[in-house]
């Protein structure tokens, strides 16, 4: 259970969690002056291996972390504090926030490795209040976020992104790393260049890639848009009442799996590709010049709609 207002709880060396709200206020003021920041205060330091810092914060604190390390794990917890621990490559520049009096509303932390190789070493764990808004940017780190219900803005180049839980807002961008969202965020935007994307559900979801695959299965979707240039799109989640789903590709296959009982209108068109339909009895029609196909059905009572577009990618529908 969450214990908001217990500032300082969880900051190592400052006692455990607990105590009434007045005591928490006292702790905030006291700890604000004497917060533990064992690696660095305000100025960058050199040749640090261990990182350990803690801050009393508001429950919805905004945290910005740039970290050139091997992996970062962000964990939402029931405390109004942020704790950063772990190790980084020797010679890294570590710039952390200075201790503050009172609960911090915003934190900025920066860890820069001396070389590209060094930027793949070390691991950090950052605990944040569940409702925090976290902006995290790394190079080739594997990012994992767990149990954050606030906002996540995650950006990697070569590493992977994995999110467990359902943040209110999630933006995840990667160049060639894979992105896996194991939850159903209210608002989500995921982009990769070549990285594969896996998700299950969400309310307002937009996913885009050049050549990565998109795999959406499980959970339930409300408004969803999946698009790729050459990456295969697989769609198999449930549909909320009145759901709208758009899928678009240039040349990749789009594989749609639906429940036989799904109440949904289909509007599928491919310019030069092919459509196969094993989900319903409706047969796709061939384009007027003998190229391309369309499949249109309407009249679904619950008003869900799936729109599919491809240039030459094959579109297939089949039952789950």
């Amino acid at each position: 259970m969450r214990r908001r207002g217990e500032a300082g709880a969880g900051v190592r060396g400052c006692g455990g969690a607990g105590g009434p709200r007045d005591a928490s206020r006292w702790w905030r003021l006291t700890l604000g002056a004497g917060l533990l920041v064992s690696v660095s205060a305000a100025a960058p330091l050199q040749a640090q291996r261990k990182v350990s810092a803690g801050y009393a914060t508001t429950p919805d604190v905004s945290v910005r972390l740039f970290a050139a390390v091997g992996s970062v794990h962000v964990i939402g917890w029931d405390r109004d504090s942020v704790e950063l621990t772990g190790s980084v490559a020797a010679g890294s520049k570590v710039a952390l926030n200075a201790p503050q009096s009172g609960a911090a509303k915003g934190l900025k932390m920066f860890i820069e490795a001396p070389t590209e190789q060094a930027g793949r070493e070390g691991a950090l764990t950052m605990h944040v209040p569940r409702g925090a808004r976290v902006w995290l940017k790394t190079g080739s780190a594997d990012l994992t976020a767990t149990d954050v219900t606030g906002g996540l803005d995650l950006n990697v180049v070569g590493g992977s992104i994995t999110v467990h839980g359902s943040p209110r807002e999630l933006r995840a961008e990667s160049m060639d790393g894979a992105v896996t969202i194991d939850g159903a965020p209210e608002w989500m935007r995921v982009k990769t260049a070549t990285g594969d994307i896996a998700l299950r559900g969400g309310q307002d979801v937009g996913v885009s890639t050049i050549s990565g695959t998109i795999d959406a299965r499980g959970g339930e979707v409300d408004h969803l848009k999946l698009e790729s240039t050459t990456g295969t799109i697989r769609f198999a989640p449930g549909l909320a009442r009145g759901a709208t789903v758009e899928m678009e590709t240039h040349s990749a296959p789009i594989e749609i799996q639906l429940s036989r009982k799904a109440s949904v209108d289909i509007d599928a068109a491919t310019v030069t590709g092919e459509i196969t339909n094993a989900w319903s009895g409706m047969r796709p029609s061939v384009g007027s010049e003998g190229r391309g196909m369309t499949l249109v059905s309407s009249g679904a009572p619950l008003g869900s709609r799936i729109t599919v577009r491809s240039f030459k990618g094959k579109i297939s529908l089949r039952p789950i």
Binding site: F66, M175, D176, A193, S208, E248, H250, R309, F311
Partner: protein
């Protein structure tokens, strides 16, 4: 009238007593109308000649320009056909072009692409080679898809599905470029 009245006041009084309009004598109007009628007739005669000459000039110029344009287009088409053999008969007969709305959108996309490309090239050395390779590979894929969709659109400009795919391909390309320019050094 008051004998102490000033000369200015007297002048004002006299001026106010003057009529507001004085009609010209009737014979003067007759002379003026006759003169105007003669000038108008001459002018109309000259105008007709000038208009006729201008029309002939425009017609001749237009014909000349049309001939020149058609010849140069034929020449360009012949060169294009020769350089892309074997060409289908449709390629010779159809003038390939995008609809105006898409052509305009493409100009915007191209401007964005050029600006982002320049920015990326400026900081290319600060990025990891593997990152640059990933970005370049993605851009090649995007370019290939754009070219393919564009070519199809030129043959079928009214295809709305194609038009949407065409612009989406550009937007994904620009998005990759934008994100590449925002990457941190050594990543």
């Amino acid at each position: 009238m008051n004998e102490h009245q000033s000369s200015d006041e007297r002048l004002d009084e006299l001026t106010a007593a003057l009529p507001r309009e004085v009609a010209p004598p009737p014979e003067l109007w007759t002379a003026i109308r006759a003169e105007l009628a003669e000038r108008s007739s001459n002018a109309r005669r000259w105008d007709r000649w000038r208009l006729a000459a201008a029309g002939l000039l425009i017609a001749a110029s237009s014909s000349l320009l049309t001939v020149v344009a058609l010849r140069s287009r034929e020449h360009a088409r012949a060169v294009a056909v020769a350089s892309t053999a074997p060409a289908s008969p449709a390629a010779v007969n159809v003038e390939p072009q995008l609809p105006a709305r898409l052509a305009s959108a493409e100009q915007g996309y191209l401007r964005s692409t050029v600006a982002l490309r320049r920015k990326l090239d400026e900081r290319r050395d600060s990025l990891a080679p593997s990152t640059v390779a990933t970005v370049e590979r993605s851009l090649r894929i995007a370019d290939s898809a754009i070219a393919e969709a564009r070519s199809a659109l030129e043959r079928d400009p009214s295809n709305t599905v194609l038009a949407a795919l065409f612009t989406s391909n550009y937007e994904r390309k620009i998005d990759v470029l934008r994100r590449a320019t925002e990457l941190a050094p050594r990543t």
